[in-house]
């Protein structure tokens, strides 16, 4: 009953004319960002964030959420038609999607992706509506030790999911934490790492860092290694979009499995939509009766990862809204938005801002319907966009990034700082230091440090407080296992090898 009540509250907000327009703009923009190479959801939202300062937070968040799941739809187009993933979350779609396109079934690949995303997305929203308030209620029991252990777990899980070199992931995370400490310390009022720059006393604004590290750094990487592919020559017609009966039979369980995997991975801190699509593809291949067809145009190979990435982009809102702990770079940028508007996400958000929470979640139903329609009827319009020269896209990114950085405090110091972070981000990427851990370290830095200090204050300085409380203990154990995962993996590999040797 409460669920229906929430749904009613949500729709009464999401269905106002204004919010429908914001939702439409968001999903259209997301679709475009997904199609364009070299710009992803976190960058797009970061570039728009400074411009939405005066917009009603609910409307702005509806738009940002639209961008997030819209990107998951849009990236498919380039994966299928030119074998270049528009987004990292659609990398797996290239494998079978492009093969399908070569066989003249591009339309079917695109429509199974759209339908799969729609079904899995809607399923994910329903689960989110039930799960998020429960998670929030659970999190009401969290004290400082739990919050510190939770952030430690999120950082630990990054080493499991991020990059090939876990040690570099740790360095990136620490760098993020370090940047978060710059400025006046909230407890003692002492300036830290400001080196006499008064501009640094308030800390470095998140927008400046994101615009640099995701926006402009991405430009440098794209110039260096342009992603060019050949557009499949076959013409797309509306009737090509219909699935054959066999194709539908083959993909229906893939959509269900992808949706479930996506939902679960999306909730895990540091899981993210890319991991979800990878896991869904691998699971589908394993579950299939004819795994040999994967890689040669199996429709399940498109349906599963596409359903999973959309499902995960929606379930990722659960930890963001209920715990205030984002699990992916995009939700991390949205957390920065919450901070900008002075709203603190977390368990209390469901009580203090029910309109925002339920309006946002309900808008996702509308957004998914809009995206389904867009992806069936407007595909040709987006195909044209694939021909847009990169120099123009690059120009737009630089314009938005510099305006965004300037508008934070209306000074040039931030613009230069942004450029500095752009160079840092570019070099880090080149040397395989992942950026995502830095961003998560940065947004969670204050929560992590403050809860650590409060916890130790409560315990009188002993660390046992993290091990004697059950929830905190659970998080700490997961964190330790996650940090040890490279060692565990290495040991297992050695064990397997000796077995092979003796056999």
């Amino acid at each position: 009953m409460e669920l229906l009540n929430n749904l009613y509250t949500g729709f009464s907000i999401a269905l106002t004319f204004n919010n429908i327009i914001y939702c439409l703009v968001g999903v259209l923009f997301g679709q475009i960002v997904g199609v364009l190479p070299g710009i992803g959801a976190p960058t797009a939202i970061a570039l728009l964030l400074p411009l939405t300062y005066s917009v009603n937070p609910t409307s702005a968040l509806i738009m940002f959420a639209g961008i997030y799941y819209g990107v998951a739809y849009g990236g498919t187009l380039t994966s299928v038609l030119i074998n270049v993933p528009g987004e990292s979350s659609t990398v797996m779609t290239c494998v079978d999607g492009y093969q399908m396109a070569l066989k003249g079934r591009a339309g079917a690949a695109l429509s199974v992706a759209a339908i799969g995303s729609f079904i899995a997305g809607t399923f994910s929203i329903i689960l989110l509506m039930a799960f998020a308030p429960a998670l929030a209620k659970f999190a009401l029991r969290f004290g400082p030790p739990e919050y510190f252990a939770l952030t430690a777990m999120a950082f630990g899980l990054l080493t499991v999911f991020g990059g090939e070199q876990p040690i570099k992931t740790i360095i990136s995370t620490m760098l993020g934490l370090l940047i978060a400490t710059i400025g006046l310390d909230v407890v003692s009022g002492m300036p830290r790492f400001a080196f006499g720059f008064p501009q640094l006393f308030g800390g470095i604004d998140f927008i400046v860092i994101i615009c640099g590290m995701f926006g402009i750094a991405e430009v440098f990487s794209s110039i260096e290694e342009p992603e060019e592919g050949e557009l499949v020559k076959s013409k797309l017609q509306l009737r090509d979009l219909f699935l054959t009966w066999e194709e539908w039979i083959a993909s229906r369980w893939a959509i269900v499995r992808g949706g479930i995997i996506g939902f679960i991975v999306g909730i895990i801190p540091a899981g993210g939509i890319t991991t979800a699509s990878f896991l869904a593809y691998l699971a589908e291949k394993r579950a299939s009766k004819h795994p040999e067809l994967f890689g040669h145009g199996a429709i399940e190979g498109v349906a599963a990862p596409e359903s999973a990435n959309n499902s995960a982009s929606i379930s990722g809102f659960a930890p963001l809204l209920a715990l205030g702990v984002p699990g992916s770079p995009t939700t991390a940028v949205m957390l920065a938005g919450f901070m900008m508007w002075g709203i603190r996400p977390g368990p209390m958000l469901f009580k203090t801002n029910p309109d925002l929470v339920w309006g946002l979640i309900s808008s996702m139903y509308i957004g998914n319907v809009l995206l389904l329609l867009i992806n069936i009827f407007l595909i040709p319009a987006f195909v044209v966009m694939l021909r847009l020269p990169y120099t123009i896209i690059m120009g737009f990114i630089i314009v938005f990034a510099s305006v965004g950085a300037y508008s934070v405090n209306n000074n040039f110091f931030d613009v230069w700082l942004m450029l500095g972070f752009a160079v840092l981000g570019y070099l880090m990427r080149k040397l395989q230091y992942p950026i995502v851990p830095l961003v998560l370290g940065l947004v969670l830095g204050n929560l992590s440090e403050n809860s650590l200090r409060q916890a130790l204050l409560i315990s009188g300085g002993t660390f046992s407080i993290f091990f004697t409380r059950p929830i905190s203990l659970l998080f700490v154990v997961v964190a330790i296992l996650a940090y040890l995962s490279p060692v565990i993996r290495w040991a297992l590999k050695g064990l397997r090898q000796t077995k092979v040797d003796t056999a």
């Binding site: 314009v399 040039f412 204050l457």
Partner: protein, 148 residues
């Protein structure tokens, strides 16, 4: 790539040591629990330890693939220099004209487009920035000496 990676490791090491040094000057523990230097010190220690691991690993590993400099790295550097010049002249020219010029120049430089489309795009950009950011969103962007 090995040398670039090594330099990266050494920079991380220097950073780690510097963080340890500067945070040791902050209060580690106060009467209100851990002080402002508590977390940074540990962050510094972890960065230092990880950097040492990275460096040792690079020295003993034999096969390292990939090149740091790629054929188009030079072009990226040119764009960086163009951005720096643009940011330097932005206070004089203002955002709309400065960034429009940047777009025109990079289109010519990178995309090898003809002068006419470059010029047209620049004009559209200037008008776009003026209308969207300055007039509509009322962001107080510097308008430069020309005042546009």
């Amino acid at each position: 790539m090995r040398i670039a990676d090594l330099i990266g490791g050494v920079v991380a090491l220097i950073l780690g040591v510097a963080v340890i040094y500067f945070s040791s000057q902050l209060e580690y523990y106060s009467e209100f629990g851990p002080g402002p230097g508590f977390l940074p010190l540990w962050v510094g220690i972890i960065i230092t330890a990880c950097a040492i691991y990275v460096i040792i690993n690079l020295l003993i590993k034999h096969r390292i693939t990939g090149e740091f400099f790629k054929p188009r790295t030079k072009l990226g550097l040119q764009i960086l220099i163009t951005i720096i010049i643009t940011f330097l002249v932005l206070p004089l020219l203002g955002f709309s004209i400065g960034l429009a010029l940047f777009i025109g120049v990079t289109m010519r430089m990178m995309g090898k487009h003809r002068w006419v489309p470059c010029g047209l795009t620049a004009i559209v950009t200037a008008i776009g920035i003026r209308l969207i950011f300055i007039s509509w969103l009322t962001i107080p962007l510097p308008r430069g000496l020309i005042g546009w």
